[in-house]
């Protein structure tokens, strides 16, 4: 079986600084992948290259057997590769419900080859709101949301595009213990419904609870890849995090 996402020799530089250096990564369909690495190791750059926000200089990204290189971000989202942002970027002039309608209007129809009716859009919107637990906030504006609800909105908007692969970029930074549990449970629920999920996170408890497989990036290089328990005992990983 071919992998859902295949990354081959992906490289990206900013001037003289090498942010990503020959990353190889295959993600199978239905997998829950954790991606960790110290600050500045290139995690977010990798996400940006996968999603088309940045263009990679070398290597290639293949999604469902289709090369993504050169495609714009919105096309990739339409193909089924959605992401949430590290710092939530809600559409501030729209209500929570309207925020979720944007992907329903723009990303979903291109895959289903017909526009959703108004009723269908509302239904899916309500379904998403109850899935993430934002039903009471449907008509609130993002500025009135708490931090955790803002994170949920960010995830819900990515989920609204009905992706095959969801990349959650530090969805839990700054949240409390129980809130982290909520989000992990939400992501696992989503995965059980058939969505492949890549989770980028610093909170090790969340990563260990969530991941079936763990990848470690350090200075733009992949230094470990495997079962989470094995990976965190890897001496090279320990060295990267704790020093020698």
């Amino acid at each position: 079986m071919t992998a859902l996402l295949q990354v081959k020799g992906l490289g990206k530089r900013f001037g003289g600084f090498v942010a990503l250096d020959g990353i190889d990564l295959d993600v199978a369909e239905g997998q829950r992948l954790g991606l960790i690495g110290p600050n500045g190791s290139g995690k977010s750059t990798l996400v940006n290259c996968l999603c088309g926000t940045l263009a990679n200089e070398t290597g290639s990204v293949t999604f469902e057997g289709r090369k993504l290189d050169g495609l714009q971000a919105h096309t990739r989202t339409r193909l089924g590769l959605a992401r949430s942002f590290q710092l939530p970027r809600p559409f501030v002039s729209m209500t929570v419900a309207a925020n979720l309608k944007v992907p329903l209007l723009y990303a979903v129809p291109t895959r289903e080859h017909h526009s959703l009716t108004a009723a269908e859009t509302d239904d899916r919107c309500a379904e998403l709101l109850s899935l993430v637990g934002l039903v009471d906030c449907a008509h609130k504006y993002p500025r009135d949301l708490t931090q955790v609800d803002m994170r949920k909105l960010e995830l819900a908007r990515a989920m609204a595009a009905e992706p095959k692969l969801l990349i959650a970029d530090e969805a839990m930074a700054g949240l409390s213990h129980s809130e982290v549990g909520d989000i992990v449970a939400l992501l696992i629920r989503l995965n059980e419904r058939g969505t492949t999920v890549i989770l980028i996170e610093h909170i090790m408890r969340a990563v260990m609870n969530f991941s079936q497989r763990l990848v470690v990036l350090v200075s733009g290089k992949k230094i470990a890849d495997g079962r989470p328990d094995d990976v965190i005992r890897d001496p090279e990983v320990e060295r990267a995090y704790l020093g020698q």
């Binding site: 926000t53 919105h74 989202t77 970027r89 002039s93 729209m94 944007v102 992907p103 723009y106």
Partner: protein, 449 residues
Amino acid sequence: MRTPVFLAVALATALLVFALTRAIGNDYLFFAGYIVIQFIVLSTAWNILGGYCGYVNFGTAAFFALGAYTSVFFHKTYPLPIPVLLAVAAGVSGLVGLGTGYLTLRLRGAFFSIATLAMAVVLQTFVVNWNYVGGSRGAYVIRPNELDVFGYPIDYIQYLFLIMILLAAVALTIARAIEHSKLGYGFATIRDDELAAEASGVPTLKLKLIATTLSGALMGMAGAPFPYYIGYVEPASTFGLPYAVNSIAMPLIGGTTVWFGPLIGSILLGTLTQIATVTISSAVNLLLVGALLVGFVIVAPSGLVGLIQQFLRVASPARPDARSIGLIALAAFGFVVGVLEVVFSLAALTAPDSTELATATAGLVLAALWIVSAYGLMTVQGWSPIIATLAFALSIPIAALHIWLDRTQFNIALWGACIVIAIVAIAFLRRRRVQQLYAPRLGEQEALA
């Protein structure tokens, strides 16, 4: 309301306004009204890109002039009826809009605005050096006095007015249709956050190109009948700063997020500048617009519509009730009276007579009272009912004085109405439910205690 229904209503309203203007039977009204309506089209067009997408275009004058010079060109080569010219101008300006969009939309914020300004300069230089359309000398376009419509002669200026007001109805329908559509959602995401928009599957570049094309085409259409209206066009005035400034100021003062924001803004500012042109001078227009723009940016950055929406959120969150509608009406009345009073007082200030000077100064003080009370009422300030009552109370003897000085029928009707409004307003402001709204909140009282 569905779009076709709205279009029908808009067109009917346009025809009604045209019929009413004809009934008044003053030719000057057509001349002045044409300019006001032209600005409705321009500001609505500007708002499609500037208000909905958040891209501030300083090049309105260039698109407008493009439409005007399209007419001049065809007037010289092959005269066409104005509705056809409108379509051609839409095509030309739309194409230029698409082209500039493609070249400049990688720029954001101030850089995009500077690029549009540069585009205006380039186009002006091009026209100045194009002898066929008059170059810097300008070109005369002699319009016929009358137009024969199915054997029924109609004054040409009335014909131009009719075309412009129908165009305004169409422009407003387009703006409203966008707002309620998928396109409107897309535009709003571009205004809020382009990166997040892309991540949600919104093809931002394509949508921005649609916006620049549409906006440019409408601006060009507003410019197409202009040479026939004015009779003589030259680059310096057709590419003039007032078009750019006004089409930015009107939506900002009215409100940029809804279709009726630019409508309100352009009727208000357009009428005001027309009055100032008659009573003071045309040079003072831009000063007036500038002062209002600065004032609004400071005290009501989301425009009149935003101010009222904010008020409604406080006064009646569920749905507008009689109290809040009454208060909005009072504030609107006070604001309009105050602004008019400023214009008339400024006009009086230019007179050398010392009594006039005194009245003018008193007028300015009163105007300040009106405007401050309108602002206070809308921002739910505790002091505002008192100030508003004072303004209305003062207006009663003033109105009586006007009637006493000049007892024509029109004057008695006008100022009599003012007295009635003032009495009703004062009674309304004294109602308990109104007093309650402006009383300090219970929580605040406890906090003070």
